[in-house]
Each structure stands twice: as structure tokens, then as C-alpha cells.
């Protein structure tokens, strides 16, 4: 095997061993999300997901990707100026193990955001699926929270579509309080 093929073989064998079916790291913009959404749809179809699973995977993917565009603390800039339309940095990957899809995302957050996310997600983890649906219904009819760029429904939507409580972690914060936020949904 040549050097290039060897590199590919090693890379593929790692990807297969980790059951990864989709991976992206870098800046997220709306255009990039729309293109990835197409790719995720195709991947789910090719891996044999049934209609309802495909839709849940797609929905959770969009919510996670748009969270990165809205809330990642790493805003793309050139010569000190934020680029327009805005792009923010993060990563997503999807794995498929024994018929179960896992959707992972990660992005940098500042200390204040971490402080908001933690209780929100801990609360979501404590709810049953019926309680999640009830809270979703309530939030749908409520005023949008002032700190939300969406509708305050994003995590509830992912939690509703997931088949297990959402898992999350934060990396140890640096001197400024910034850390990496990791979220995993089981579909």
C-alpha cells in the first residue's frame, strides 16, 4: 500500500471502530448547516434509519448546529472584525452503535453561559418524557426568554426527540472561566 492509501486505511479503520457516520469541526454558518443537513439526511437514509428516527436525528442535528451558530463563544473574525453573516466555532459528530444513533456536539462557552446551561440541562435530565412534553407545551405558549435567540425550545426539542436523558459535560474552565461544552443525545 502506498503512503496515501495507508493514511486513508488507518483513518477509516479508526472511524469504523468508533462507529462514526458523520463528523464536522470548524465554523458553523447557516449555509454550512443547510449543506450538512442534506448530508446528514442522506447518511441516515443510507445507514437504514426508519422514517421517525431519521426525522428525530435531523431535528436534533439542526437544533444543535443552530445552538453553535447562536451561542458558541468563538466568533469568526478577520482583522478584528466579526465576519458577516456570523460564523461560530464548534463540532458535531454522529455515531451509530448497535442500531442506536448518538448525536454529539461541542463548542466553547464563557463562564456565564456555562452557569446558565448547567442548571437548565440538569433540570431537563430530571424530567420524564411526559414531563418534557408538558414543559414543551408550556414553553410553546409562553413569552420567549429575553436571553434566547430562538424560542427557549431548543433543548426541550432535543430532549423530546431523544430516547434517553441528554448527557452533558464541561471541560475544566481556564483562567477566564471559558470551557468546552459537550452535549450528547441518544436517538
Amino acid at each position: 500500500m502506498s503512503g496515501i492509501q495507508q493514511q486513508w486505511a488507518e483513518f477509516h479503520s479508526y472511524v469504523e471502530r468508533r462507529d462514526v457516520i458523520f463528523y464536522y469541526v470548524g465554523y458553523f454558518s447557516q449555509t454550512i448547516i443547510a449543506a450538512m443537513a442534506d448530508a446528514v439526511k442522506l447518511r441516515a437514509e443510507h445507514t437504514g434509519a426508519v422514517g421517525q428516527t431519521r426525522r428525530k436525528l435531523f431535528s436534533s442535528f439542526i437544533e444543535m448546529a443552530q445552538n453553535i451558530v447562536h451561542y458558541s463563544s468563538d466568533l469568526h473574525a478577520k482583522e478584528g472584525q466579526a465576519t458577516e453573516p456570523s460564523m461560530r466555532r464548534g463540532a458535531v459528530f454522529i455515531s451509530l452503535t448497535d442500531g442506536v444513533y448518538y448525536l454529539h456536539c461541542a463548542n466553547p462557552v464563557d463562564g456565564e453561559m456555562a452557569g446558565k446551561l448547567r442548571p437548565k440541562l440538569e433540570h431537563l435530565r430530571s424530567l420524564t418524557i411526559d414531563e418534557i412534553k408538558a414543559e414543551y407545551k408550556e414553553m410553546l405558549r409562553a413569552e420567549t426568554p429575553p436571553d434566547s435567540k430562538g424560542a427557549g425550545l431548543g433543548f426541550l426539542t432535543v430532549a423530546r426527540d431523544a430516547s434517553a436523558p441528554l448527557d452533558f459535560e464541561f471541560s475544566a474552565p481556564d483562567a477566564d472561566g471559558a470551557s468546552t461544552f459537550y452535549l450528547r443525545a441518544t436517538i
Partner: protein, 128 residues
């Protein structure tokens, strides 16, 4: 007033509001970057049409295959506006199309029916 037509994009649906025919249609997927802005302008135009008066019936056809969480919230306000019109006497028919095995969109239709009881709600399960 002028009809409102917005062609579909990768992440926003086709909006075809034929005010002259009193037929309003939405078709496609909705996850625009800023749902509040995208839907806010559509709802503002719709409200102007509804405020013009006239109690003739209105038909609303919704065939959205996917909408993200922030679009969901905005759609709720859109149907709220239509429900108010129905309460003031105009017959408003909502044809709600969804894939036959799409529980999420079916259930959202049920929510609408529950909250906006003045609308004549027709559920249409479409075979995929």
C-alpha cells in the same frame, strides 16, 4: 393588497399567500437562521390582510415537512392570528398536511386544534 410569494430556500419554506383568492399556503422546511425575523415579517403582512376586514372564508394549506424549535414558536403566533379572525366570524379552514408516520407534526397539529378551536381543522396524513 398585494399577494405575498416567497420562494423556498434550503432552510425556509415556500410562502404563497394569495390574498386575492383568500388562500394561504406554506410548503417545505423551515429552519432559517433568524426565525423570529423571517416569520415576523410574514405574520405582520398576514395581520394587515386580516385587519382589512371582510368575513369571506379563508383557506390555509400547510405542508411543512420540518420546522425547527424557533419556527414552531412563530407558527404558533401565525395560527393565533388566524384563530382571532375565525373568532370574529370568518370561516378559516386549516388543512394540515403531514407524512402519515410523522408523529411530531401530527401532534403539533393536535396542539393547534386544542388551542385554536375556532379554526376548522382538517388533518391530512400523506403517504410517503
Amino acid at each position: 393588497m398585494d399577494n405575498l410569494f416567497i420562494a423556498a430556500s434550503a432552510s425556509s419554506p415556500e410562502v404563497d399567500f394569495r390574498f386575492d383568492e383568500r388562500t394561504l399556503s406554506l410548503k417545505g422546511e423551515s429552519y432559517p437562521e433568524n426565525a423570529a425575523q423571517f416569520w415576523g415579517e410574514i405574520i405582520a403582512t398576514l395581520r394587515r390582510f386580516l385587519d382589512e376586514g371582510g368575513d369571506a372564508g379563508i383557506t390555509v394549506n400547510v405542508a411543512l415537512a420540518y420546522f425547527n424549535s424557533s419556527s414552531t414558536k412563530m407558527l404558533f403566533s401565525l395560527f393565533d392570528a388566524l384563530n382571532e379572525k375565525a373568532e370574529s366570524g370568518a370561516e378559516v379552514v386549516l388543512n394540515w398536511y403531514h407524512d402519515e408516520d410523522d408523529d411530531t407534526i401530527f401532534e403539533f397539529g393536535q396542539e393547534l386544534q386544542e388551542d385554536f378551536s375556532a379554526l376548522v381543522f382538517n388533518d391530512h396524513a400523506v403517504q410517503s
